[in-house]
Symmetry: C2
Subunit: 359 residues, 2 copies
């Protein structure tokens, strides 16, 4: 049942279960031209209605890609980077790209005023997304609180779903959840008010309930003639201690952006690795690459070339490369990445002034 | 327990029960200068935090009054008239008046597009409200779909209430209900974003859940420093057949605005009355005024002067006036009222072009 991942991942089974349980399609990399690093390596593992999007790309038909920014805190994380890279992939292959700033959601769940959320988004989050690869000239940004189409759709959609149905998807009927879910559904479909074309939403697997709700609503709103909403899922960047997902509540195994590079290298040095107890054993048996979170970091983020990653894999697997050497590579690559991110962030801060926001 | 209503009403007991069950204060007419017809006659029967509003009036301190227009259909009803008269009362006594057009609600519950809702509101509903006494120069109108403050507050407020609490108030957790309730709460409090002053909402008793929800939210949002939200309740105009409330689904006992006056007089002639079986019995025992829906119509809407109403009451109660004569009076007054309404409606249609809407 479980597909073998050539670069190994302890997490494969969890994601296969998601595919089985929720009827997510496996991601077929052959459908997509010039797949990005995550697509090639099985980090992008599934989706819904992917063939429709592949068809749009192939036939150069219009479609859109949409994602969002949560303007709280003063850091972003590698999950954001993954989303940006997928948005960028579809943008580069013909999609109109939308990026919402979830200021309403930040105000409601984090107690941040709309003004403060706006300030943070402009000072940091939007520039950070641009630094990660979002093209500001080709992306339509908006603040959730300023997009009337979104809130209008949210109200309309709320009549299409019963309490029982909502509970079946979310396991909860808390009013805050309901409001947030329909607002997100408004976000995902408002681009179609102008033009009915398919859309795709790149998300982590935890966001699938929103996608299911929205797809249910489309199928119940025949009169609105929406085109299909596709989705594409990436695996979470695993935490350095081997947990499923990096989490701020365990800072020792989580890397945020930006972060002091010395601190990050320290974290990498303490990561869960696949190295053996003794050097002798390591040389003899080779590393257990599947358990190595430093290798995961290289695979998910830090090594662009497949040849290079394959070389590292082979060296490490054979025992010729030690865990310490692997960590050195990771620290060096991370330093390059972080320096690059920081300088792009500075540059992007200047570009933000010229942005126009949809209202 | 039940207060004796000098003009009699079969419905007194139901409203007393509302007061008991939901902790509504009885309306103390002495608190309010120059009470309007409905206040003087016990049609306005209760409220919440009325003393705060009475204090504002007495000390000429700022407060606001807010109500709404549902832009569906091509008629309004006597309940709308009651609301407008109460809004006008508070407007005349120092309140800043707000009137929302519930275009979002109309779109969600009646399937009317926002464009259509806007058109109907401008063509008919707003002019009709002006015809009923709303001063367009002193009233701030807005469309729910265009007021970002309202939707922003709705999202914020949704986090303040649990599913269980919502269910205790509304008896339902349907997403559409939840969305509508928090949106209404946003309506009721958005005027305070500019200035924290008390507000009052004139409503029928069926709207009390919205008031309770909103007051609960205020008490949980200390950081927002909202001032109290008061409410004032009027009894429903009873149906001509003696039912609690006029209803479109029983057109024979319901009068809408505008309506053909001949048809209305026909309905009045078939109304439930307090007249006796025979003229002889009527002269001897007098009418049972408490059961007479034609008298209710005079009391609620058609006779402004208390002296005149008292005179009619005495004549009818004593048996000197027959039920037929009472109906003649009602038909004559209704004709005057409907003609006046129609001509004011025409005039108001011209005033609508100059209105500015809050966004």
């Amino acid at each position: 049942m479980t597909k073998i991942d050539p670069w190994g991942s302890v997490l494969v089974n969890d994601y296969s279960k998601l595919i089985e349980d929720f009827g997510i399609e496996e991601f077929n990399v052959k459908l997509f031209p010039n797949p990005n690093r995550m697509m090639r390596r099985g980090v992008v593992y599934g989706g819904r209605d992917l063939k429709i999007i592949a068809q749009c790309i192939k036939e150069k038909k219009p479609f859109y890609v949409l994602s969002g920014i949560m303007p709280s805190g003063d850091k972003i994380h590698f999950g954001n980077k993954q989303v940006v890279e997928n948005v960028r992939y579809f943008q580069d292959h013909g999609a109109e790209a939308y990026m919402l700033v979830a200021d309403l959601e930040a105000a409601a769940t984090r107690g941040i005023s709309l003004e403060e959320a706006r300030k943070r988004a402009l000072d940091f989050h939007i520039p950070a997304f641009i630094a990660l690869g979002l093209d500001p000239k080709k992306t339509k940004f908006y603040f959730q609180s300023e997009n009337k189409d979104v809130t209008t759709l949210a109200v309309l959609f709320s009549k299409k779903v019963t309490a029982n149905e909502f509970k079946a998807i979310y396991g909860s009927l808390e009013p805050g959840r309901i409001m947030a879910a329909f607002t997100q559904c408004g976000d995902m479909l408002f681009p179609q008010l102008k033009k009915r074309v398919p859309g795709i939403i790149p998300v982590g697997p935890d966001q699938d309930p929103h996608i299911r709700l929205c797809r249910d609503i489309i199928s119940r709103s025949k009169e609105m003639k929406f085109m299909p909403l596709a989705s594409v899922y990436h695996k979470f960047t695993p935490a350095l201690n081997g947990e499923l997902k990096m989490s701020k509540s365990h800072p020792e195994s989580c890397v945020e952006l930006p972060e002091d590079i010395k601190l990050v290298c320290k974290k990498i040095n303490r990561a869960l690795t696949g190295g053996r107890e003794t050097l002798e054993e390591h040389r003899k048996k080779g590393a257990i690459v599947e358990k190595d979170m430093v290798f995961e970091l290289l695979k998910f983020h830090l090594v662009e070339s497949d040849d290079e990653l394959n070389r590292i894999y082979t060296e490490y697997k054979s025992g010729r490369m030690t865990s310490g050497e692997l960590k050195e590579i990771a620290c060096k690559k991370m330093t390059e990445f972080m320096n690059d991110f920081n300088s792009k962030l500075e540059r992007a801060r200047k570009e933000v002034n010229g942005l126009e926001f949809i209202r």
